[in-house]
């Protein structure tokens, strides 16, 4: 156990700090606004970074939710690190800054839900860190009052635990405890894969009530946690793939559609564990990403068959399991997925084949879908379907022959009742459980990422 020297604590500063903390958290709007005004001027390089990223998002230059999520998290990390924080209300200032950037990012590509997810995750991290710091302070106060000892003292496991317990208690007064915090109350919780927000370690380190160090502390902790988030995003394949062996058995036939790196790694992990099985790959018109996946799989020694999208119904009776990737998972357990997957899901349901969706935790979106076929869809260029030159005479509206319209949607919405199982980096979950999982990752205050003049929490 790592131990830190604990500075001398006097009664009054702590109380004062507590006062300011409560004031901030209960939303004393004026002071918060003043602090924010103070902290608004940012380093120009962050602004250029943000603008670059916005531009790329707008031009749809970044593809894939994983890449987007990672880039977003990295951007937010630099925003936080560049953000000057005042002595009081640091959390509010950070939240405000992240929100301001996040709002722009979400507006730049509202269809790429991973951006919004990461922004909300980071906001949640800031809140959690702030809370844990405050509770640590409270715990420290309690301990110092109890022990009445003025010297530096060595803290042991128990005191950390008590700090966490106080933190949990403090949180519970504000909102219902999340599953994660409940889990973390147990001593072994530090080993859980997602210790991102309030691990015992950071608690231990943050037992300082000195104001100056606390300023740096919060920012430092948040950046640490965001780093962990980035780590999580980049390793989510492995964590999902680890579970492959539990789901794929010998001599099974797996069907997938389109291309997904998660699916590729998942299948490959099962193959690594000496499972022999066959894979059917539906090609995923109009972008034919299935061809790429099939090539990769065959190169890795898996027995692969390519079929057209329209042959899915014909082949489904031979299939033991459908494993697909997703673009995003909504709070109700519905899936935004590459176009064609709804058809596959219906086919799977018709033949009672399990329909398994692989999704990293950055794909979990706390929003409920409303009219997802239209509002959460992206119509891409028709040139992916047919050649402009070949049909340009059919599109000449001037001569009255312009009756050809081509629609090229990118996504399908698969309703939750068609999904048998979600596999995330934390394990397998039922669609009806998704809302609970999501509550762990996001705080309810951040569901609407919109800048408001009174940005209290």
């Amino acid at each position: 156990m790592i131990c830190y020297p604990y500075p001398k604590v006097t009664f009054s500063p702590v109380r004062e700090h507590l006062k300011s903390w409560t004031a901030q958290n209960l939303g004393s709007a004026d002071t918060a606004a003043i602090q924010i005004l103070f902290s608004l001027p940012k380093m120009p390089d962050v602004q250029t970074l943000v603008n670059d990223f916005l531009n790329q998002l707008k031009k749809r230059k970044i593809e894939g939710s994983q890449a987007t999520a990672k880039l977003t998290a990295e951007l937010l990390r630099s925003v936080i690190s560049q953000q000057r924080v005042p002595h009081t209300n640091q959390a509010t200032a950070l939240i405000y800054a992240v929100r301001a950037v996040g709002e722009q990012l979400i507006a730049a590509n509202p269809v790429e839900l991973a951006v919004g997810n990461i922004v909300r995750r980071v906001l949640h991290i800031i809140r959690e860190e702030d809370l844990s710091l405050a509770t640590a302070a409270m715990a420290g106060l309690g301990v110092s009052a109890a022990s009445d000892d003025e010297d530096d003292m060595e803290r042991d496991e128990n005191s950390v635990l008590s700090a966490a317990a106080v933190a949990a208690a403090a949180r519970s007064t504000l909102r219902p405890p999340s599953l994660q915090t409940l889990l973390e109350d147990t001593p072994d919780s530090a080993a859980a894969p997602h210790t991102s927000s309030s691990g015992g370690e950071s608690d231990g380190r943050s037992r300082s009530v000195d104001k100056g160090s606390r300023v740096r502390k919060l920012k430092h902790d948040v950046i640490e946690a965001v780093n962990e988030l980035i780590q999580d995003i980049s390793t989510c394949y492995e964590q999902i793939a680890e579970q492959a062996v539990e789901h794929i058995h010998h001599n099974e036939v797996i069907l997938t559609l389109g291309s997904s790196k998660t699916v590729l790694e998942f299948l490959y992990a099962a193959k690594e564990k000496q499972r022999s099985f066959k894979v059917f790959v539906a090609e995923g018109a109009p972008r034919y990403q299935g061809h790429i996946l099939a090539k990769e799989l065959a190169a890795r020694g898996l027995q692969t068959t390519v079929i057209t999208d329209s042959a899915v119904f014909a082949m489904i009776s031979r299939v033991n399991m459908v494993i697909v990737g997703a673009h995003a998972v909504m709070a109700n357990g519905g899936v935004i997925a590459p176009v064609g997957l709804n058809m596959v899901a219906l086919a799977a349901q018709r033949h009672a084949v399990p329909f398994v969706v692989l999704a990293g935790s950055h794909k979990l979106c706390p929003l409920y879908p409303h009219n997802p076929e239209v509002l959460l869809n992206e119509l891409r260029s028709p040139s992916e379907l047919l050649d402009f030159g070949e049909f340009s005479d059919c599109m000449d509206s001037a001569s009255g022959t312009g009756s050809l319209h081509v629609v090229n949607p990118t996504f399908d919405y698969v309703p939750p009742k068609l999904v048998s199982l979600f596999i995330t980096d934390t394990g397998g979950h039922n669609p009806s459980y998704m809302y609970r999982l999501i509550a762990d990752y996001y705080s309810a205050d951040d569901l609407v990422v919109k800048r408001r003049p009174t940005a209290g929490s």
Binding site: K58, K59, R60, R380, S381, D387, S397, A398, S399
Partner: protein
């Protein structure tokens, strides 16, 4: 489209060949089969491209719509063993058969035509090297990028600059240079061919736009009546208000517009801050910023309203009219200036400027009853010289039905014609055509000989007046002979003509006087003439010329024909052989032509006797 690939190719080529100064981007597209017109209303286009190197060897765009013959330089075909010809109109291809072409290339060529029927569209995107800039400085008189610059570059073989092409397939690229292409490109954007450059992704304004079913783009803050019907493929900007029972389809409506009740809008482009009152009907029109259309007004297809025009109530704006607050520029302006004025005031690239002007104009020209009904403001521009043809070709309105019918009819006629004598047998048939330059030659030579005679005459007169030596005169005439590519006999005839004319011009009282003049001239200049008369043919030519003169230009000589001929014989200008063969030639001629033969009969007999 993404320029990366084209740019890469350009750079690669530059490395290999520093003369590759430009890369043009072209795109395949099909023209409307019925009317010979591309979607963008642009002119016809011929391109010849070397398929291997992608070098552009020939470029021709045709401003006039007349179908013509394409002249491909023979050397092009020699230099490029394979060549693909691209054209944006199908029928035109069949006219290739009339081209002047060497026979041995023909079979090869016809095969090529069959291979390379394709339709291209010039995107007007060029990747240029720095040399191009200096070319523009050197040739500051380039007015048209394609017609002057590109063709100039292709024809000019001194610098050896080359132009290459880059063809794009699924990407989208087009140029807006008239109202038709404005309409077409806008529609393509709404149909998302330009993704991600579409209204809901790249919102150019401040407000976000959502795409709904059937291609409806709507900004977030719109107040729309429940009973208003908004059809497919429309864009509606934020802050726009739409009244009851209004129908909008296939249109673009800008920000902050007020549209009243019972309005029908079809295929229109309505810019920002426009108010359209109740009961208006707009079809295929472009309405610029700040226009007010009073209740009940009707805009017929193809109307363009410039900034801040006011259309009076119940007024019907006739089809294809252009309305501006500015007076139409006076006709004496050159075409270019007209176009310029047109583009600034209507297309509005310089909004500020035109605003300034319009406000001025408003003060002076606002009259309660103007050309646009009660309370209207604006001037209807009459169509320019280009006329009605251009109007329908370039307007936003759909092409009228009758035009399409007309076009289909002419196309069928054409096809009939083509079936008659198209697909010429590969062996021959074409050669007569290809040799039709002979006719040209003939025609040319006739012209030439006229000028030649004039020149010789002038030279001779100068020699007479300035007392130039005979040898110098001969030298000058020789040079003329060479420059006009004439025979010696032509020279003889021309010189003889000039001498006789000279003799005629010296004042004389009677026929005897004239004869004496002739004798004087001949004694002086005989040597010059005889230097061209080495042969019998040339002497005959002289006699024929003399005969012609007597008949036409100088009738005074007619009675003296025999005398002068005798004189010529005595002076050894003409020999008896020539006279006899002249008579021989004239045997079959008409009676009228034989006048002089009869007149000279005595002389002829005498010469025969003499022999």
């Amino acid at each position: 489209m993404s320029l990366t690939q084209a740019l890469l190719e350009h750079k690669e080529r530059r490395k290999k060949n520093s003369n590759a100064v430009m890369t043009m981007v072209i795109k395949r597209s099909k023209p409307n089969p019925a009317i010979h017109q591309s979607r963008l209303g642009t002119d016809e286009l011929f391109m010849a491209i070397d398929p291997d190197t992608k070098q552009l060897v020939y470029y021709e765009d045709r401003a006039d719509q007349s179908r013509g013959i394409l002249h491909l330089d023979k050397s092009l075909l020699v230099d490029n063993p394979s060549l693909s010809l691209h054209h944006d109109k199908q029928v035109e291809l069949l006219y290739f058969g009339v081209m002047s072409l060497a026979c041995d290339n023909l079979i090869n060529f016809l095969e090529l035509i069959r291979l390379a029927i394709s339709y291209l569209q010039d995107c007007y995107i060029d990747i240029c090297s720095p040399e191009v800039l200096s070319l523009f400085t050197d040739n500051f008189d380039y007015q048209h990028l394609r017609r002057h610059f590109v063709k100039g570059l292709l024809v000019d073989d001194i610098m050896g600059y080359k132009i290459f092409v880059h063809e794009i397939h699924s990407d989208y690229a087009a140029r807006v240079d008239n109202f038709r292409s404005y309409d077409t490109v806008s529609k393509d954007i709404i149909h998302r061919w330009t993704y991600p450059l579409v209204p809901d992704v790249m919102n150019f304004g401040k407000t976000a736009t959502k795409l709904e079913r059937q291609g409806m783009y709507r900004a977030l803050e719109i107040s729309q009546s429940q009973s208003a019907v908004i059809g497919p493929f429309t864009v509606i900007g934020s802050g726009t208000k739409i009244g009851n029972n209004t129908k909008i389809s296939n249109s673009v409506i800008g920000e902050g517009c007020k549209i009243g009740s019972n309005v029908i809008i079809e295929g229109c482009y309505i810019w920002d801050n426009i108010s359209i009152e109740d009961g208006c009907k707009l079809q295929h029109a472009i309405v610029c910023d700040g226009v007010i259309i009073k209740s009940g007004a009707v805009l017929e297809p193809g109307v363009i309203l410039s900034f801040k025009v006011v259309v009076g109530p119940e007024f019907i704006v006739p089809p294809y009219s252009k309305v501006s607050l500015l007076q139409q520029p006076i006709e004496e302006d050159s075409d270019e200036e007209l176009e310029y004025a047109d583009s600034t005031s209507v297309m509005g690239s310089q909004v500020d400027k035109s605003d300034e002007i319009t406000s001025k104009v408003l003060e002076t020209h606002f009259t309660p009853a103007s050309e646009l009904g009660m309370g209207g403001a604006g001037h209807v521009w009459s169509t320019c010289e280009s006329g009605h043809e251009e109007e329908w070709r370039h307007s936003v309105a759909p092409i009228p039905k009758d035009k399409i019918m007309e076009a289909i009819k002419t196309m069928e006629d054409d096809l009939g014609f083509i079936h008659d004598d198209s697909f010429l047998p590969p062996s021959g048939e074409l050669i007569p055509n290809s040799n039709d330059s002979d006719d040209d030659d003939h025609e040319d030579s006739r012209d030439d000989s006229y000028y030649f005679e004039k020149e010789v005459e002038a030279t001779f007169l100068r020699a007479v007046h300035e007392n130039i030596q005979e040898s110098h005169l001969i030298l000058e005439i020789n040079s003329l002979k060479l420059s006009y590519n004439k025979l010696t006999s032509d020279c003889a005839g021309a010189l003889f003509y000039a001498m006789m004319k000279c003799a005629l011009d010296i004042p004389h009282s009677s026929a005897d006087g004239l004869l004496q003049n002739v004798q004087v001239v001949f004694t002086k200049w005989k040597k010059a003439l005889t230097s061209y008369l080495n042969d019998k043919d040339e002497q005959i030519e002289v006699i024929l010329k003399f005969e012609e003169m007597c008949l036409e230009s100088a009738k005074e000589f007619a009675p003296l024909f025999t005398t002068i001929l005798h004189q010529l014989y005595n002076d050894d200008v003409v020999e008896e052989n020539a006279i006899l063969s002249w008579e021989d030639e004239k045997k079959d001629a008409d009676e009228a032509d034989k006048v002089f033969v009869k007149q000279a009969q005595k002389l002829i007999q005498w010469t025969l006797m003499d022999e």
